[in-house]
Each structure stands twice: as structure tokens, then as C-alpha cells.
């Protein structure tokens, strides 16, 4: 893993692919996903879909990316208001920490 392939844009692109895979199950395939996209209101994904996303993130980036730990920072109202950019920042921070260590 190098910073060039795990910068914010690359992570956003990869997370967008994971989310589009999830949305594909619901027959949704024409969504543009940006840092401002809301998980709940824009994508309408269910909590069980976040379990799938957690698994995809771990498979892609390893054990350093713990989605349950990320979610644990927020209460329910904040989780509902989560934007894709917040997850991108968490992933890049964790990857940077891993590279620095």
C-alpha cells in the first residue's frame, strides 16, 4: 500500500464501487457518489448493508479498517446524517497511520 493509491480520491472511488455493488442488489445503478452523499437519505441503504460494507472495507484494506469502531464514534442521529466523505477520511487516516508506523 502506498499513499499514491490510497489518497482521498482513490479511497472515495473504491468506496463508491463498494456502495454501487450494494445498491445493485436493489436495482439502483444510476447514482453519483461524492464526499457529500448521505448514506441514509441519498443512498437509502439499511443498517444490514453497512455490515456488508464493513466486510468489503476489511477485505480491501485489512484489519486496520474497523467499521464498527468507526460507527461507535457516533450516536444514532449522527449515523443517519453520515456522509461518504467522513468514511473516506477515516479510512485515509487509518491507512496513513499504518504507513507511518
Amino acid at each position: 500500500m502506498t499513499t499514491s493509491t490510497n489518497d482521498g480520491d482513490a479511497v472515495l472511488a473504491r468506496i463508491a464501487e463498494m456502495l454501487l455493488d450494494i445498491l445493485d442488489d436493489y436495482g439502483v445503478d444510476d447514482v453519483e457518489i461524492t464526499r457529500d452523499t448521505l448514506f441514509h437519505d441519498d443512498l437509502e441503504i439499511e443498517s444490514i448493508d453497512l455490515v456488508t460494507l464493513a466486510g468489503s472495507l476489511r477485505a480491501e484494506y485489512g484489519d486496520a479498517i474497523n467499521f464498527a469502531e468507526f460507527i461507535a464514534r457516533y450516536d444514532l442521529d449522527e449515523i443517519i446524517a453520515l456522509r461518504v466523505g467522513q468514511l473516506v477520511d477515516y479510512v485515509t487516516e487509518r491507512l496513513d497511520a499504518g504507513t507511518a508506523a
Binding site: 437519505d41 439499511e46 443498517s47 444490514i48 453497512l50 464493513a54 464498527a68 469502531e69 461507535a72 443517519i80
Partner: protein
Amino acid sequence: MTHLTINGRSTHVQVLPPEGGAEGSTPQTVVLVHGMLTDSLASYYFTIAPVFAKAGVEVVMFDHRGHGKTDRTESGYRLEEVVDDLRLLLDALDRRGPVHLVGNSYGGTIAYAFALEHPDRVASVATIESEPPTGAWAAKMSVNLAKARRDLHKPGANAWIVARYGAHTARLAKAALRLLDTTRIADEIPMSRTVADDAIAALPMPVLGIFGSKSDLAQQAPVIAGVITRGRSIVVPGREHSVLVEEPALCERVLITWVTTGELPAPDATASFREVRAG
């Protein structure tokens, strides 16, 4: 591991390995069983499951038939069929020794049914707002499921739920209505095999019942403590059926202590409950 074929259905399973733990020692396993219609393993995955793992307990979670990411078929929703899924799931994971069961609402009824059928495979049971699968339970399910379906079909039902409980609950209610409309779950759960009112007296393992003081199920609290030899009950003041959702910190503390020590935590500022003795 995410999907196993159980009784012919692709079943969504999540296992969280225990953290730490002594070298060579066999960790304890807890199975977290979710409730019906609006529920899935996600209720545990982001809440109590990682806390159990941190405490050195292996966690097994699964989406029941028709729920979450497990296959939905038109028929096959009687309680004993879900109990059989759980047995086969533990076999597939090679968990042959006794496991701890934690169930919320209908998940607790599944836990009681499993413990009655396979007492040698259950180390302890903890239920939140649940009752055993008696005839009275089945009759109540018949009424409640029919009512839920009627109410959710009423014009303006969704707007009312949005206004009262928020958009997230309204979305869950929509998904619940899809399950009720596209399967025979509402007819089949009440047709489940039931047990005698005093059948739970035969449970040899420690059993804990957690209830909201304002729930109509709170009357079960002295029964659990009185009928089951190693049964205990606690009541959470001011709460109704949604104790797990509304008191996550308390439930976490009680359940972790219960599974790891077999005891209840001492009540303090973060754990306001009272123990109910036999009635």
C-alpha cells in the same frame, strides 16, 4: 465468512473472533439472536457484538430466514424451523460445545425454544423482552401480526411513523410490510410448535429475563425467577418493549457480565435496574 447454506437457504452469518484470551484456552461463544420483521443481525453488529469480542468472547450472529441478507422464501417461518437453522448453523461452524444465547424479543423466544430442545448445547440464556413459545404466546402473535399488517396498510401509516419515530423507523416499517405481504410469516409463526406453560421449569442452565417495567411482558419477570431453578429476572424502570434500543449501555453491561461471569452487575449510575424475585 458471510454466507452458509442452511436448510437450502443462503444464510447470512457473521462471526467475530474473540480478542486476546489465554494461549490454548477455548473461548466461550455467544450467539446473538435478533427479533422479527424489522430486525437483522445489524442490531448487534455495531453495538454489543464488538464489546463481547473485546471481552474475549467469540460472537456468532445470523440473519433469520426472510430477514436481512438471508434468502427470503414464501413459506417456512415456523419457530421450530428457525431453531433447526440455528442447530445446523452451529454444526456447520463446528461449535459442538454449549454456547451462550442472547435473544431480543422474538429472538428470545427462539432462544427458549432452542434451549428446551437442545439443553446440552446451551450454557446460558439471556432474553430481552421475550416469552417462551407457549400457546398464549402463539395466540398473541396471531393477533399482533395480523394487526401490524392491517395498521401498516392504513392510508397515511407511513407519514404517521415518520412524524412520530423518524424516517429510519419508517423505512424499517416499509421493509417489514414487504415481508408480511410477500411471505406467509404472519400465518406461520402463530402455527409454531408450542410448549406447556411450565415447560421452562425443565431448563437446567442459568436463564436471565430482562424486561421494561412498562411492558406488558414485565409480568413474566417473577415467573422466570420463580419457575426456572437458575432463573433470574431484572426490570428496567420506565421502559417499554424497546429496552435494547433505548438502554444500550445498560444492556451491554448486564449482558457482558452475565455471559462472562454468570452474575449480574451491581446496579450503579449506568445500570439502573431492579432484580425481581419469584412471585
